[in-house]
Symmetry: C2
């Protein structure tokens, strides 16, 4: 039997996310992103569609590569302003009961002790529905905002990441043994102090000498998401990630990436299926193909080209303001998202121009762009799953709320009719829903399990 696919709503606490300028669409209500109702509605809709999660991106900094300034990004609302992703999760959790929440957080600017507490608290309050998308941060504007003069190099960011992970595993998995929490009113004992251990972590980047502040939450370690797709990034993902967020525009590229990640995971003693892989995709769906085409054209007309170039300049580290719109992009050295730079330069089949980066059909989509009626969209998405080995999709935000409503009302029933999408949520915390048969905690074969108290 062909496997059921998984879907996340890909969103961000900002006026426009993957597609700059769509907040300008007359029917879009993204300007309400600062209000609780916006987030409650988003989560309710995604849960109505039995989505696995709301995956919250974050950009800690402002894109300032295009034209050498942040002006394009902030003028067009291209991931600017960028508000804290943590704070919207409780509003979404309160409005729902099952859906998970993947929160992007940059470990570079955190301390494990404080960070682990924040996630434990949220995992408690949501009944174990929290995931963490591990990112290391590459924006110069974030570094200078945080009082640092330089951004760590690409590989060093991952070295620091391994160090950070060891520290948080110790806090989440090792500090409070099973059975440490008594909560015994008659005995007058909340905790058995003999089962709470000081974490002693003295790594090259991070130091912790303290017990974890929070009692164990339903999942202990949140479900771990990761999106690195460079060589070093894939090693990191294969070791730590339980969900991987992949971008890629051809099935060949995606198939290779999926195989490489699963192969490396197995080399680390894990199972190939221990990693759920989500491919980024943009889907415009309508009852008929003609309506879908019209809708896609309408949306495309509202993409802000300068805003979009501000985004892709930020992701790549290449200043596209220096290029004519139809000029071939040369390979440039960059300290930014390496996979994206490779995709638009050395790995591209034909020369890419800035014009290719602006619209839905161009490489700026970073993944499949699918337009059609429910049957055609389902056909296309399932072909990606079946031919590449991905498990599902992170579906990009378009016009809010109508695009997500359309996915829930049209795509989900079509997939269900084909037996390729669940008809009810599984039981338990997010990890158990994603990995039926596993417990709510990291499996023994995951790197984090080694940090448990023996």
């Amino acid at each position: 039997m062909a496997k059921e696919i998984r879907l996340n709503a890909f969103h961000m606490n900002t006026p426009s996310h993957s597609w700059a300028g769509l907040w300008q669409h007359p029917r879009d209500r993204s300007l309400d992103y600062t209000t609780p109702g916006y987030w409650a509605d988003l989560a309710r809709t995604a849960e109505r569609g039995l989505f696995d999660g709301v995956f919250l991106a974050d950009v800690f900094g402002t894109y300032d590569v295009y034209g050498g300034s942040r002006d394009a990004a902030i003028a067009t609302g291209a991931q600017s302003p960028s508000n804290d992703p943590f704070m919207v999760v409780p509003f979404m959790a309160q409005a729902t009961s099952h859906i998970g929440f993947g929160i992007t957080a940059t470990l570079t600017y955190e301390q494990p002790y404080q960070f682990a507490r924040r996630f434990s608290t949220l995992d408690h309050l949501t009944g174990g529905r929290i995931g963490w998308n591990i990112v290391t941060g590459y924006l110069k504007s974030a570094a200078t905002g945080m009082g640092q003069s330089t951004v760590r190099s690409h590989d060093e960011r991952y070295d620091a990441g391994d160090d950070f992970m060891a520290a948080v595993y110790k806090l989440w998995e090792g500090s409070w043994e099973p059975g440490a929490v008594l909560r015994d009113k008659a005995l007058g004992r909340f905790t058995d102090p003999a089962r709470v251990h000081t974490v002693s972590h003295h790594g090259p980047y991070y130091q912790v000498e303290a017990a974890h502040l929070s009692e164990p939450s339903p999942q202990r370690t949140p479900v771990l998401y990761q999106a690195g797709s460079s060589g070093r990034g894939r090693d990191f993902a294969a070791r730590h990630a339980e969900c991987v967020f992949l971008n890629g525009q051809t099935k060949a590229i995606v198939r290779d990436a999926v195989a490489a990640i699963r192969r490396r995971a197995v080399a680390f003693g894990r199972r190939a299926e221990d990693i759920v892989i989500f491919l980024g995709a943009t889907v415009v769906i309508a009852p008929t193909a003609a309506e879908a085409r019209d809708l896609a054209a309408d949306y495309a007309a509202h993409i802000d080209p300068i805003g979009q170039l501000a985004l892709v300049s930020g992701w790549s580290g290449i200043d596209f303001a220096k290029y004519r719109l139809d000029e071939a992009i040369r390979h440039e050295k960059s300290n930014s998202i390496q996979s994206f730079v490779e995709n638009i330069t050395t790995k591209a089949a034909a020369p890419i121009t800035p014009r290719d980066l602006i619209g839905f059909n161009g490489i700026g989509a970073r993944g499949p762009f699918v337009v059609g009626d429910p049957a055609a969209v389902a056909d296309e998405l399932l072909s990606w799953v079946d031919e590449t080995g991905v498990d599902g999709f992170n579906l990009a935000r378009l016009v809010v709320p109508e695009s997500l409503n359309a996915l829930v009302d049209l795509l989900v029933p079509e997939l269900q009719n084909r037996g390729r999408f669940k008809t009810a949520y599984g039981e338990g915390p997010l990890r158990r829903k994603l990995f039926p048969g596993d417990g709510p905690h990291l499996p023994e074969r995951h790197a984090g399990a080694a940090f448990r108290h023996r």
Copy 2:
């Protein structure tokens, strides 16, 4: 006309707060502190009573002075576990419309750039109901948890605090000019980049070189709470605080402290009434005096003496496990809460023993302990207001939820009948409610206003 008093519910994201062990009371439901419903109920009850705010304490670390170990604190659930206070605020905000939220956050372990964004996000999502209780942190366990080998000295903590405040004022008040946000769909402009300014802060402790990530929230700077009551702490409060949280066990001590803070505020160019002063108090109220006495005795019997000594050892830095219960406490040097140490040693009228620190009637209450029927409690509380100049009270958590219910059902109507408590919330964000006539932003005479773009 005598002034209306203000009330906050004083709480913490932990099993027991000011009074260790009350989670063990048969009717107490503090064990639910990890669930959203606990917080929603708390906020709804406090809002039903027209409380000004829920004031959330935080202890970033574990008390480990008593007996030289953390065991007493964690065994008895004395402010351990200690979960993140931020994450419960959205659950409380969602359940209410008017009440404010004061969040204790230790600036020592934060960076202004990231911190300012978190508060701006929360101020947006709550419609301007956020306050920040500025603390500098004094626990060694927090420092070592954060990878630091030492705690800054008392005075240096405040120097760093002044530096931190300058940086966040620049972000909140100066980075985005009024009029910077256009949100103009027709024009395709979210922001006028000419009105967004890079914050350039290069202080002795904190550096920021970036624009603020968030557009201005309803209040911009959250309402600033502060609790320092040493000399240096009072200077800090007089300069920055809009609300001061004071402890003190005699009217003479409190009156002097109030006068000193207001005098210093005036010296900084502010008005005496620019600071709303809340006195910490523990109140047991019941329909009759006899019932209140019985209730207080019942509660007192559930205070965990070892847990309570773990708390006061932590606050004072003095290990009371080294004393017999009836042995006079000597003055010891400490890097902890200086005012508390002074109150139990040099400033005490008679020698204080550990036994005095355990119960409601002792100095462990750190402020008035009031037991009685509604008329008697109102008399006593109003006498403190009228004789010391405080504006109201932070009312300590006792047995949840019945103690707060009793305050709302019995104390509030009594105060209203006397014309000493509001009968409806004022309009607008928290700052406007606390300072009627002022705007939602810091007044021009506040230190933070100097950081606005001119």
